[in-house]
Symmetry: C2
Subunit: 192 residues, 2 copies
DNA sequence: TAGTGCTATGGCACTAGTCATATAGACGCT
DNA sequence: AGCGTCTATATGACTAGTGCCATAGCACTA
């Protein structure tokens, strides 16, 4: 039910399904993803349920769009959702891969895997840092921002911290794996 | 398809569906969760597909169990999966809640939310640290561990780093929110 | 011997989400 | 006129996963 509530939050300012998708891709990218098909279906369902209202509006650059907005009941529902954190289990596929990495006996393959991970984290971190740079232009950044900007800024802060941790871990791990490999080679040399 | 491959990894040593569930709850808890119903259906499907083999075995503490084991084809499939990291989008429900936290106008509610988050992270971190303590008993910890223990240890290392980052973020955020509230009160005092 | 709890498997209804595809208006390009 | 691209909405088939429930063996104990 998370997507439902996220839409209630976004649509406090009116937008079309298409625009909402853009919002996900740009703003929510680092903690939530959603497909258009899923968005449209959910919007329709929540409109029927009276949590969103909609009106048709002509677009200047395409066909008519359906603009949704959170209703009073929707806002009520949103506030209820915000009373307590939802802490579902995280699913980190790449970590389960790391867990079994001994199966690929080849150390080169293991290192390639870990370097790919590291590069991914580095790229994502750079993206978030670019966003942060944009924020810094505001003299009120970070703690004097108005409430509606302060909280998004908090999510950015965690994104930066987490990605830094992940990147540091990847780099350390690569170093540790390399050291292990060298030691194995040395031992092999002594054995031979 | 991640669960499929995780099962291929786990079942390199034979186990029943019930035992696999215990494995998830204990060892994989911090990066993957799975329900019994899902596990049983997946095991059955992969047995049919020839990626797992199974045999019936009597149990010393309950009814007969079906013991599964990864086949040669299954191992092949597992190795293929390990060639490149799967970096799907993370979905952090609590972060989307934080994003909209300005909606609950009440600062007390916001702080309660963040403190609940902090407590959760602290608990989870303590759990992982307890597991780490167990590992430390081994004189080979951490870098001289054999491959099959070294890689699980890497996943634990990331878990610790990430949770530390999350905990630090939660504590900083609480401090920042409190400071904002005090400033608001002061301003209100001056206004009045 | 009845109850409780753990071991063990599995079905059913449901929800969330993906991927492919269809339709169509507006605009610019060739 | 036709083509590509962006805007815009939507459906159908499919996959992954949850939550609830049914069944049942076995051990312990009150």
């Amino acid at each position: 039910m998370a997507l439902d509530h996220i839409l209630l939050g976004i649509l406090r300012t009116p937008a079309s399904g298409y625009a909402v998708k853009a919002h996900f891709d740009q703003v929510f990218r680092h903690f939530w993803a959603a497909e258009l098909s899923q968005i449209y279906r959910t919007l329709r369902r929540m409109d029927d349920a009276g949590l969103l209202s909609s009106r048709s509006e002509s677009s200047d650059k395409g066909p008519a769009k359906r603009v949704y907005q959170t209703t009073a009941r929707g806002r009520q529902r949103l506030r209820l959702w915000l009373t307590s954190p939802e802490l579902g289990d995280e699913r980190l596929t790449y970590l389960s891969q790391v867990y079994f990495l001994d199966e690929s006996r080849d150390a080169t393959a293991t290192l390639r895997f870990m370097r790919e991970l590291r590069d991914h984290f580095a790229t994502r971190l750079a993206e978030l840092e670019a966003i942060e740079q944009g924020w810094r232009a505001d003299p009120r950044y970070p703690d004097a921002l108005p409430d509606e900007d302060f909280h998004p800024q908090l999510t950015l802060a965690l994104g930066l911290k987490k990605l830094s941790a992940q990147l540091a871990w990847a780099e350390e791990s690569i170093g540790r794996i390399e050291t292990r490999e060298h030691r194995k080679e040395d031992e092999h040399g002594i054995d031979a």
